[in-house]
């Protein structure tokens, strides 16, 4: 009965394939999986350098704290949020979570993060940390995230281009009309070879600076905190510059996205002015161009008026509400945010440390690089000129950001008039914020 024989052999082969192979792969293909049990998981996002340093810190903590084993999980920024959301949904998120400003509102409001209030001040010492930064990690008065470093909005300019064209560098006291004048001059003096500035009209961070200079803000208590008139003024300001070439045209603007560094008009030498968050100055801009880039304060609405800038946390450390090891996790957060070891290891990788203790450690060391000095000097300047910080972003702030980008593109491509666009945006954004 050859048929039966081969059938049996066939059955065996099938079984071997179906059962054995998965079993094989179950065994020991992933030794790390075992050590994760009974340890504190710490997840973070960033580039290889930043993740490498944070992973090193987790190891340092493990070796100096016998009772705790830190396990580090690092992910590239773009996908970190997808992974975190998936882990949250599966009930398998890490204990210590590195999180950014828009998400702390989103996750905190949904109860996914643990309030740190009960750990302050005994386990987590918040006194050395800048108050303005702390506020931005609070929801309804309770601390949900400890800021790790400081990031400040600045206007970057191409020193090489301005010098070539014989134009003066922007002053830290400049106004929005100075900005427009400079942008138009760059266009004219360059013989229309380059444009003046980037087009940030769809960027919420830039809009926020503009609004704060007027004493308004993006959000307050979970709702929009600015008027139709201010938004109209914002769009009209950029539309006017677009018409004169003071800012890049719609299609160039659409292909550049903040964070996608090579597409930046400043890097591509299409424009000489663009906003820069301080931690990105080196890796996102200066390293990618041979021209010299410097930064200054964003413009004000009137001479001597209010400057919209404020120190923002580059990111926070938060505690998973479902963590089994909350006490250990909280102790680690404190060590990371305030410890001298951490400051020495991390340096300015995400901006100056949020904790004064950490900044002191850095300033005492005499080994600061040129770009580190540049950032520290600017941060000093920005801190002196900044106004009261905004509240933590509402849950839907990312979605509102997408809306602003889209409406700004619709305007730039002449698909809709500013007059129609503004009320539409206000209504859509309001609806989004209400969760409808």
């Amino acid at each position: 009965m050859t048929t039966d024989l081969s059938r049996r052999r066939f059955l065996q082969a099938g079984l071997a394939a179906g059962v054995l192979a998965p079993l094989l792969s179950a065994c020991n293909l992933d030794p790390a999986a075992k050590e994760a049990k009974n340890s504190v998981r710490f997840s973070s996002y960033g580039d290889p350098t930043k993740l490498g340093l944070r992973s090193k810190l987790a190891d340092q903590y493990t070796s100096s704290h016998q009772s705790v084993k830190m396990v580090f999980e690092g992910t590239a920024t773009a996908e970190y949020w997808d992974k975190l959301a998936t882990q949250m949904a599966g009930g398998n998120a890490p204990d210590v979570i590195n999180i950014d400003a828009p998400r702390i509102g989103q996750y905190g409001a949904a109860g996914a993060l643990q309030s740190l209030q009960k750990y302050i001040p005994d386990t987590i010492d918040t006194k050395p940390i800048d108050r303005n930064l702390l506020v931005q990690g609070q929801l309804k008065g309770e601390q949900f995230g400890i800021p790790v470093a400081m990031s400040t909005y600045s206007i970057g300019y191409d020193v090489t281009v301005l010098d070539q064209l014989g134009l003066e560098h922007p002053q830290e006291t400049w106004t929005w009309s100075d900005y427009a004048t400079l942008a138009n001059q760059i266009r004219l003096k360059s013989g229309k070879k380059i444009y003046g500035a980037e087009d940030p009209s769809g960027d919420t961070a830039s809009l926020q600076i503009f609004l704060r200079g007027k004493g308004e803000d993006l959000y307050k208590d979970g709702a929009l905190a600015f008027t139709d008139a201010s938004l109209t003024e914002w769009f009209e300001y950029w539309a006017a510059l677009r018409a004169t070439g003071g800012t890049i045209p719609a299609d160039i603007a659409a292909q550049s996205k903040y964070g996608d560094w090579p597409t930046s008009p400043l890097v591509k030498k299409q424009a000489a002015l663009a906003h820069i968050q301080t931690p990105n100055l080196k890796g996102g801009f200066q390293d990618l161009t041979k021209n010299t880039i410097d930064i200054t304060l964003p413009p004000r609405h009137t001479k001597g008026g209010k400057c919209g800038t404020f120190p923002a946390p580059s990111s926070f450390l938060s505690l998973n509400a479902k963590s089994q090891r909350q006490d250990d996790a909280a102790a680690f957060i404190n060590w990371f945010a305030n410890g001298a070891d951490a400051a020495k290891t991390l340096r300015l990788i995400s901006g100056p440390p949020a904790s004064a203790a950490g900044r002191d450690v850095l300033l005492k060391g005499s080994d600061l690089s040129a770009s580190e000095k540049q950032v520290l000097a600017y941060t000093d300047l920005a801190l002196k000129n900044s106004s009261a910080p905004p509240q933590a972003s509402p849950a839907a702030s990312t979605a509102v950001g997408d809306l602003l980008l889209k409406v700004s593109q619709d305007i730039a491509f002449n698909k809709i008039s500013i007059k129609q666009a503004v009320p539409k945006f206000m209504a859509d954004a309001g609806k989004t914020l209400d969760g409808k």
Binding site: S6, D30, G46, A76, E79, T86, A89, G90, K290
Partner: protein, 286 residues
């Protein structure tokens, strides 16, 4: 050969040259991006995006060295992991999909049409919608942070693309062959192993190639299911070189991207011969 047999030699030669000319023109369009990647991987960070000329001024391998060692562990580990996953996936898909496809193409059973519809329907739902329920399932099975979610499904024939592909190929094999074998006393199992398997060579190779390449490049599930550096894979590690929140290392990114193509390219180069030269179907007539 036979196709050109009757053309005069001169005309044949002209035609051959024209074909080559067209193919070479096509080659330029196909390899320009690769050329640009390779060129960029040897350039300074500030030159990569400011020059249209893809050729670098020197062949300094520093981006390769720095990129390979930028992560802890180094890329060596990631290549081992990626290859292991891809090889297991190939084994799974080839075995499981062939068995399933043979049943659908040649055997009769209750509910065949319904099962076929379900099989095809299972690939009509976009992956992003299935991700969360799948993650929950694998988490409860205790499979998260192992390679099981990436490999086991392949052994259980969840890839309808390949099942349907093989069904279509098996159906191009004349049934008269089955019948002849049956008259010789072969059962369904032997028909499968003696007739169908040998004659589906090209599609088995195709399945193997695609499974290898697609698994190797399947960034998202590797990202979701593997969390620890030691178990990570090449595409996941690659993504870190471009980061919106800090330093980006485009030279290293390009260098590692070029290297990441090497395994899949070699697999394709070696295996594609088998598709084309593999099993001659001569001797089979409808």
């Amino acid at each position: 050969m036979t196709t050109l047999q009757h053309a005069p030699a001169a005309r044949r030669r002209t035609r051959r040259w024209l074909t080559h000319l067209a193919l070479i023109a096509g080659t330029l369009v196909m390899v320009y991006p690769l050329l640009w990647m390779v060129g960029g991987s040897f350039k300074d960070e500030s030159d990569i995006f400011s020059q249209l000329n893809p050729f670098p001024s020197s062949l300094d391998p520093r981006n390769y060295i720095a990129g390979w060692t930028a992560t802890d562990p180094t890329f060596t580990r990631f290549y081992v992991n990626s290859t292991l996953i891809a090889v297991l996936a190939v084994a799974g898909n080839v075995i499981a999909c062939t068995l399933t496809a043979y049943a659908f193409a040649r055997l009769e059973f209750r509910g065949k049409k319904v099962f076929f519809a379900i099989m095809l329907g299972s690939i009509m739902l976009p992956a992003h919608a299935l991700l969360i329920p799948q993650y929950v399932l694998f988490f409860h099975l205790g499979w998260v942070n192992t390679y099981l979610p990436l490999v086991v499904p392949k052994f259980l024939a969840t890839d309808a693309f390949f099942i349907f592909l093989m069904v279509q190929f098996i159906r191009t094999i004349p049934r008269t062959l089955d019948e002849a074998a049956m008259i010789d006393g072969c059962g369904k199992v032997r028909i499968f192993s003696r007739i169908i398997l040998p004659l589906t060579g090209p599609v088995l190779i195709t399945t193997a190639i695609f499974t290898f390449i697609w698994t190797y490049n399947d960034f998202f599930s590797q990202l979701i299911y593997l969390s620890y550096p030691s178990s990570e894979t090449v595409p996941v590690a690659l993504r870190r070189f471009v980061d919106a929140t800090g330093d980006s290392s485009y030279g290293q990114l390009l260098a590692m991207s070029v290297l990441s193509l090497v395994p899949t390219f070699i697999v394709f180069l070696l295996a594609q011969r088998r598709i084309v030269e593999g099993i001659a179907t001569t001797g089979l007539k409808g």
